[in-house]
Every structure is written in C-alpha cells, then in structure tokens.
Symmetry: C2
Subunit: 250 residues, 2 copies
DNA sequence: CGCACTGTTGATGTGCATCAAACAGCGTGG
DNA sequence: CCACGCTGTTTGATGCACATCAACAGTGCG
C-alpha cells in the first residue's frame, strides 16, 4: 500500500511541475528560462486541492508557503474585531496568495476557496533561497509584490471616489479583463462569489449591489441574472468608469 | 573650481551614509551587520533635498530610484482622468517611496514633499544587485513591500467599513504611533497636510473632516486648532476605533 | 416537498456631499 | 502701518446616495 501510494504521489508530482503547467505564462515563472523553470519545479512538492468553502489559511497562521492558484477561485478577507468583513481581493488562476504574510511571517488575512480549486504551495524559505540563485525569479517576486500594491491603490481610488454604479462597472470590467487574459470569454462568465462578498469588496451593502445591477441592466450595459454575467456594451461599460478611473500616463 | 566642488560633494557624501544615519533602525538596514550597512552606503551617492511643494516623481516617470525619506514629510497620490485625487499615503522619515514603481518600471503615483525634506535615492538596479549579495537586505525589501500591502488592506477596511469620525480617529492614532516610534511626542504634534489632503486620504470631503474634528473635540478626545493636534484622551480615541479595527490574532 | 439560503425590490432613514457664507492667518504692496 | 487679496478652515442649510429594515421570489439541497 505504501508503494502504491508513492506511485500515485509520483504521478501527481510529475503533473504538478511548473514546466508543464498551463498557467505558466501568468505565474511566477514569467520570463524564466527552461532550466530556471525546472529548478522552480523542485520547490513544488505537490499540488493541493482545496474544496469549495475551505479555508486555505487564516489570519495569524505562521507563514509557511505562498500559494499560486493553479485552478479555481479564492477570496481573501480581513475581519474587524466586531466581526465586520472586508474582502481584500479575489484571486484566480496564475495569481498569488499569501504575499501579505511576508511582512511579519504570519498571514494577515483569511483565504477561502470559492469553488473547488487547486494551488501550488511554494515554501517561502525555499523560495527565497531559490530566488537568490535565480535573479529573474527574485525580480518577478518583487514585481508581484509591487503589482499588488498598485492594485490596492486602485481600490483606494475606487472606494474613495466612485459611486455604487461606477464601482460595480469597474468590478465587472476587471473580472472580464482578467478572464480574457486567461483565454476565457470576456463577455460571458459566471461569478464565483455572492452579492454579499461583492458588496464587501466594493464597500457597499448587498442590496446596493442588486440595485446597481438593475441600473446597469436598465442601461443595457450588462445582463446579469443570478451569477451569470453577459456584457452587452463593453464601450458603454468602460465609459461608466473612465473619468473616475486611474490616470496612467504612458 | 572643479576641485572645490568635489570637496564639497565629498563632505556631503560622507554625511549621507547609512552607517551614520539617525533613522537607520527604521529604514532598509534593519538587522544588517555593520559590514552590510557599509556596503549599502556605497549605493547612496548623495542625499537630495526636496523643497516643500516640490514633486519628487510623477506617475509614469521611469523608475530610477527608490527613495528613503531621511527627513521631512511626503504625500503620494494618484489622479483619475477627470482630475479627482486619491491620496494613497503619507510618508515620514525612515519610510520608503517608490515601491509601487517596481511593478512595471514606472512610478504609479505622484510624490510631493509637504515640507522641506531630504531623501536618500537608492538606484533600483544597484539595489537589486546589492540585495543579491546581501540576503538579509533582500529579505528586508520583501518585507517592506509586504508591509505596504498590509497597510493598504487596512485602508480598504477603513474606507469600506468605518464612518467619518472613526476614520479620523484612526488617522490621528496612526500618526501618533508613527511619531512615537521616531521619538517624538505621541500626544502633541503638528499636521503636515491640509484638511483637503486628509479628506482625500480618508475618502471624505474637507468639510466632513472639519466636522469630525469638531465631534472629537466635543467629546474631549483631541484638541485640534489649525494644524496643531493634542491628544487628550488616548484610550478614548482608541475606543472609537476598536470594534471596527482590524482583527489581528497573535 | 419543504426548508434554508441567496437574490430582488420597495419604503424609509441617515450620514455625508454639496452649496454657501463667514472667518482666520499670512504675505504683499501701497 | 494697515488695507488687501489669497488660501485654508469653520460652520450652517439643504439634498441625495446609500444604508437599513422588511417582505417576497427564486434556487438548490436534504
């Protein structure tokens, strides 16, 4: 039995390596040579399945690994003392979980799978060592961290300056674009999170989310029934956001 | 003349090194050995003075250096296309500017000095090389980036869940604590930014800031006249924020 | 089939934005 | 020196966007 188990594990391990991973071009290995990706492979003992609703890590847990999302969908959130939840992000394949834990070796948020998912745990101490050997990996890690900061600043702009309809439009456009980058339809997709989570992310109540959905529908910009989203008028939707959207020169 | 000039520069250079810098224990060199700090010194060609109101860098400028604030006070902000401003942070001595530029080699915000200030430019490509030689420097850089993410997430919680009075209380407490860490009074300090900038940072209008100040004064929590702040009731002020404040286990 | 959960829509209230005016501080120039 | 304008701050009156409370519809699961 031990043997058959190790056989199974081996198969699993072989499948888990970065070099054969379909999200390689969106993940940590961007721009690494084949040889470098192979060394990155050695980090990943195995992929881990995370069932829908399962907590990947909790606030305060000691940092062991960063997690690359290989498949599925996560949300990260922080909790106030009196139980109010602030969703800090939604992560899909190729995106990294746990970056906030580097600050003090403990995760600073909760990460929950919104659907059956799969992650590649990257033991952080090993990752740091490997990054030392592979400067472009180190550079990628730096970039990843910095990108998260830029994203967060964009969220500050959203929360500080946009009204409910604009926030929702920006949210839908953001999802659309990220799905598109991954080869999925940018016009037609299904939400992995409920209205409450969207509301928490956008700093609104779930009822307000519903009403803003109704507004966008009345303007024939999107069709949303339940969790199914169809973008009817992409330029119109963008119009709704630009103006209050980030000014990025170059 | 060239000689006397280089003499002057030399003096300035000598004074600029990390090893003799008073904010060393709050800056990049935390935990570095003397030898390591000396190597970090080689990065810093000279300190740069930045006059009040001067732009240190703008959105879209190519990343050349990160900047350690040695003295003074900065604000960073992003601009929406139609000119609305979102302040993303206020930086004081020992804090780093430009971390968001690593994401794509261009600064993603504007940095402006709120008073006459002084920064240590850290040429980023050199910093990366040096970090490769000094693992603990690399680790510090990673931590710095991650800490910025955690701070930003706290701001999301603030903007998403707190009312005006709570936001202002949190803001004052945050300043008080950071000043305290630097050896200044935590009860008595002067604001370096105007009501408008505070409002932008906290997602509120300047009039609302004024009113919230009035509220906190009426409750005898703080005395604020103009830019002078006196904290009268620290526990009371904290009380105002806890409840909606971040739940951090351990 | 019934129950729980999620989403939708309506009625009402409130916290903050907006508009407006007065005031304080401060440097400039007459 | 004071008059002046400029900028930043304070306070009041009003309106509106979103929260809150409540009822109901749709969906999925045991």
């Amino acid at each position: 039995m031990a043997e058959s188990n190790s056989q199974l594990l081996r198969v699993h391990t072989l499948k888990s390596v970065c070099s054969s991973c379909s999200v390689l071009e969106l993940c940590l290995p961007i721009g690494l040579t084949c040889g470098e990706v192979e060394r990155l492979d050695t980090l990943i003992a195995q992929r881990v399945k995370v069932k829908k609703g399962t907590v990947l890590y909790r606030t305060g847990d000691p940092l062991r690994s960063l997690y690359a999302v290989r498949l599925g969908f996560f949300k990260t959130s922080i909790l106030s003392v009196d139980g109010r939840e602030q969703v800090t992000g939604f992560q899909m394949q190729g995106e990294m979980l746990g970056l906030d834990a580097i600050s003090n070796d403990h995760y600073a948020c909760n990460a929950i799978a919104l659907e059956d998912s799969e992650v590649c745990p990257l033991p952080f101490s090993l990752l740091e060592k490997l990054a030392h050997d592979l400067p472009s990996l180190q550079h990628n890690l730096n970039k990843l961290l910095s990108q998260e900061i830029v994203r967060d600043h964009d969220m500050l702009l959203l929360l500080g300056n946009m009204n409910a309809d604009e926030r929702l439009a920006a949210f839908i456009l953001n999802l659309s674009q990220r799905l598109n980058m991954r080869g999925y339809s940018s016009k037609n997709f299904v939400l992995r999170m409920g209205r409450k989570a969207i509301g928490s992310y956008l700093g609104l109540r779930l009822e307000t989310i519903c009403r803003s959905i109704a507004h966008l529908r009345q303007e024939d910009l999107v069709d949303m029934r339940g969790r199914n989203v169809t973008i009817l008028d992409l330029p119109g939707l963008k119009q709704k956001v630009t103006g209050c959207h980030r000014h990025t020169e170059q």
